[in-house]
Symmetry: C2
Subunit: 217 residues, 2 copies
Amino acid sequence: MQSVLIYSGGLDSTVLLYYLRDAGHELRCLGIDYGQRHRRELGSAAEISRRLGVEYRMADLAGLRPLLAVGALTGADAVPEGHYNDESMKLTIVPNRNMIMLSVAIGWAISLRFDAVAYAAHAGDHPIYPDCRPEFVESVEKAAALCDWHPVRILRPFIEKSKTDLVRLGAKLGVPFALTWSCYKGGERHCGRCGTCTERREAFQLAGVPDPTEYAA
Amino acid sequence: MQSVLIYSGGLDSTVLLYYLRDAGHELRCLGIDYGQRHRRELGSAAEISRRLGVEYRMADLAGLRPLLAVGALTGADAVPEGHYNDESMKLTIVPNRNMIMLSVAIGWAISLRFDAVAYAAHAGDHPIYPDCRPEFVESVEKAAALCDWHPVRILRPFIEKSKTDLVRLGAKLGVPFALTWSCYKGGERHCGRCGTCTERREAFQLAGVPDPTEYAA
């Protein structure tokens, strides 16, 4: 199968990259700059793709930032620290981010005459991110089958997996975790305090996999 | 109702702008630069919005052009001339254009806490543009209702109307047709020969409405 992977350079999508490669997919990686505070993640995406010899392209959507300027990732709110709760995680929602990223990836897949677009939504995202819910993805799947005479499938094999499952799977597949980037603050090192760093740390602990990440705190 | 209109500055979406305004909508207009050869249309969109006192914003997606570089609007093919047939009109397809535009407009509508996104797909588009078919729009409607905790509706009141119907309706609503832009070649004047100019001319003739467009040929 020939697939375009929506690839942020984070832990989840890097595990997906290794998973699809292991399953024999011909891959292209698509990074998306939507003006996120932590666009540093895209450097990880480019570097890991390069090491695997997989073509990586970046879609520059930074011009959308003024239209999507709410919350902590693209707006003026502070990135929440500590374990996510419903309210703090909601601050990290970027309006309609997944439909925007999927639609661009589908467009590229059509241009390439590829079969599918893959993205790394996982079960830990569902309660807060509405655009990671299975029923959302199902409606986009239908749209992707109809949007062109060349239909495109949406692959989201991790939608029922936890982040802990992904760390275990990544360890088996030889994912270079130290090269991946999760922190929403986007500094030199992982802050160790934001909700995403907290989740990352915990997933390694629960999975019983050594965490190679350098945290500032 | 508060609605974001996907607004190209062309005939169809200008009629929709006047139609929604007449129906009492509070509106924002969104132009999309996706690297189209005829991005001159966006000047019409800005000017007509300004005259109506409606806020107009442009989403700069020109960086996507390398990913969507097929066909005549964003790729290297020549813009087809004469009356469209199936094959020539297919050359004017931009991969997944409507899902990309709708997803960005939905994102902006969520940021504004608006109710709806409107776009001007009409019946003449269906046979060739897969992403103007009612079943495509229905799947995006479902996605738009699920992509955020704030659901957004998709309005496409012209989906069963012909371009001739739109010219008649626009004439009733006082649409300044001379300010709108259709030509896919994007020169100084409408070329009068490309498929879109041919359709525009014919729609005025069939509607019995004087055509104020200056055509080069």
